[in-house]
């Protein structure tokens, strides 16, 4: 099932390590002489963000609500002896180690646009496994219609959980056909290295045509269910955050427009760019045929 989706970009297009290590200094230097507006990095929508951008600007409320909080606080996350409970309508339920769940499956590099519901975006070179491959390994029963996910809760290591900023554990869900789509991956790395804790180590979901909060981090439970599972932001405010949450420039968030976004890392003079339907992944349109996406936002 791997290799069902092909990157527009190849490995050669990923910034070499020496470059992403230096990118911030380069941008800073360019800004200093007023060149930032013409920076090729800022202009090209599919140039991956630097590793430091990706690791320093995060939403991971378990570690605080500020963008820089996860980078500061997620070091405490204990990822040793990680296990993932697989339950519900599956043939092989149980408590899986990471190796049991994904060992031997094909890890691909997927360079995806990542669009936050807050109207900023990045491009991330993920390393991950198609979720469909994992689902096949655990054996999905025919009565299953949705996949539910749950993030780890380590109160003693998570300052946001101690402060109860939103209800925990963080939960998310996908329709089974969304989960099985070739674009949907479970990522374990970024730039060919194990991902940082603030990015959702050791394993997270990546669904590139949906707003970022659907791509749940640091997963400890995968449940196959027959009814639409709860999702955290939908529980907090159903009017603002729907279950589907597909990137859609035509459906505004009740408080702000989703028509444009700003790719982070472009400096103080970075322009906004138009947000694309399904974040540019038109191949998923068939999943929603006949659905009014303004109703099922």
């Amino acid at each position: 099932m791997a290799y069902r989706w092909k990157n527009d970009l190849t490995r050669a297009d990923v910034t070499p390590k020496s470059m992403w290590l230096n990118r911030r200094q380069i941008i800073a230097g360019a800004a200093g002489v007023g060149l930032v507006g013409s920076s090729a990095y800022a202009q090209d929508a599919l140039t991956p963000n630097s590793k430091s951008d990706i690791e320093s600007y995060n939403n991971f409320y378990e570690f605080g609500t500020g963008k820089e909080d996860p980078a500061r606080n997620a070091g405490k996350l204990d990822t040793s002896n990680w296990t993932i409970a697989v339950d519900g309508l599956v043939d092989n339920p149980g408590e899986y180690s990471l190796n049991d769940l994904i060992g031997g499956l094909t890890v691909e590099e997927r360079i995806y646009r990542f669009r936050c519901v807050e109207a900023w975006s990045m491009v991330v070179p993920w390393n991950g496994i198609e979720l469909a491959d994992i689902l096949d390994r655990v054996g999905v029963q025919s009565s299953a219609k949705y996949v539910a996910f749950e993030t780890v809760v380590q109160p003693e290591n998570m300052i946001g959980v101690q402060r109860n900023v939103i209800p925990f554990p963080y939960v998310e869900g996908l329709r089974l056909d969304e989960a099985r789509h070739p674009l949907t991956i479970m990522a374990t790395g970024i730039y060919g290295e194990p991902m940082a804790n603030q990015n959702g180590a050791p394993i997270r979901l990546v669904v590139p045509w949906k707003y970022g909060f659907k791509s749940i981090k640091s997963i400890v439970r995968i449940s196959l269910v027959d009814e639409q599972p709860p999702s955290t932001w939908n529980l907090i405010n159903a009017r603002e955050y729907g279950f589907y949450s597909n990137v859609n420039p035509n459906v505004s968030h009740p408080r702000w427009s989703q028509a444009t976004e700003r790719k982070i890392g472009g400096g103080l003079f970075a322009a906004r760019q138009d947000t694309l339907m399904f974040n540019g992944y038109d191949e998923v349109a068939g999943l929603y045929e006949g659905m009014d996406l303004a109703t099922f936002y």
Binding site: R163, G267, L268
Partner: protein
């Protein structure tokens, strides 16, 4: 007594350095945005820094009167500089939003009309304009009692500013709610029932 000592010290400390510090802070933060010190999304960061400073200074301006009535500490000579610095940061906040963030007049107008949190932020700014314009000795002399009446516009302006901040956040981060609570408390002590109790105490 400590209060007398503070009040005596204020005679020697002029208000004008407040303007210099305000401009220096704004300039330094802009420089930080240029050099990457505000993180990979400096536009939002700068917008937020300027906006928070405007709110903080508006709150500081509201503290001065109750501070004098409750403790006797008199910082009234700094109030104009604090208020004008608040207006300066509110202007900088608006400028970053319009020129660096939204960047198109048509969308600026659309956002002001369509997004309630922008509408009330803008309303707060508009309320501050006549206050900034009349923050000089000539206006005070010319307007007499009306000057005090006009400057009560600070109350709705700072309240709208506090609501503007709460309205745009996602989830329940502490800061905006703390700002709003402090603003409401500082406005509440200005109501008559509170003043009556204070007079008897």
């Amino acid at each position: 007594m400590i209060v007398d000592r503070i009040n005596r010290a204020t005679r020697r400390v002029p208000a004008w350095p407040i303007y210099i510090v305000a401009v220096a802070i704004a300039g330094f933060q802009f420089y930080q945005g240029l050099t990457g010190a505000l993180g990979p999304e400096p536009i939002n960061a700068l917008e937020r820094e300027y906006g928070e400073l405007a709110l903080k200074l508006l709150i500081a301006g509201l503290v001065i009167t109750p501070l004098r009535t409750f403790t006797g500490v008199n910082l009234i000579k700094y109030r104009r500089a604090i208020g004008l610095s608040a207006f300066f940061f509110a202007t900088a906040h608006l400028a970053v939003w319009a020129f660096l963030d939204v960047r198109a007049w048509s969308r600026v107008i659309e956002e002001i009309i369509k997004r309630p949190y922008v509408t009330i932020g803008m309303a707060a700014f508009v309320l501050l304009i006549p206050l900034a314009v009349t923050s000089n000795k000539a206006s005070i002399r010319a307007m007499g009692a009306n000057w005090r009446k006009l400057h009560k516009l600070t109350y709705p302006a700072v309240l709208l500013g506090g609501i503007h901040y709460v309205w745009l956040v996602k989830g329940w981060p502490a800061e905006p709610f703390i700002y709003l609570a402090v603003i409401i408390a500082l406005l509440a002590v200005r109501f008559k029932p509170f003043r009556f109790q204070r007079a008897r105490a």
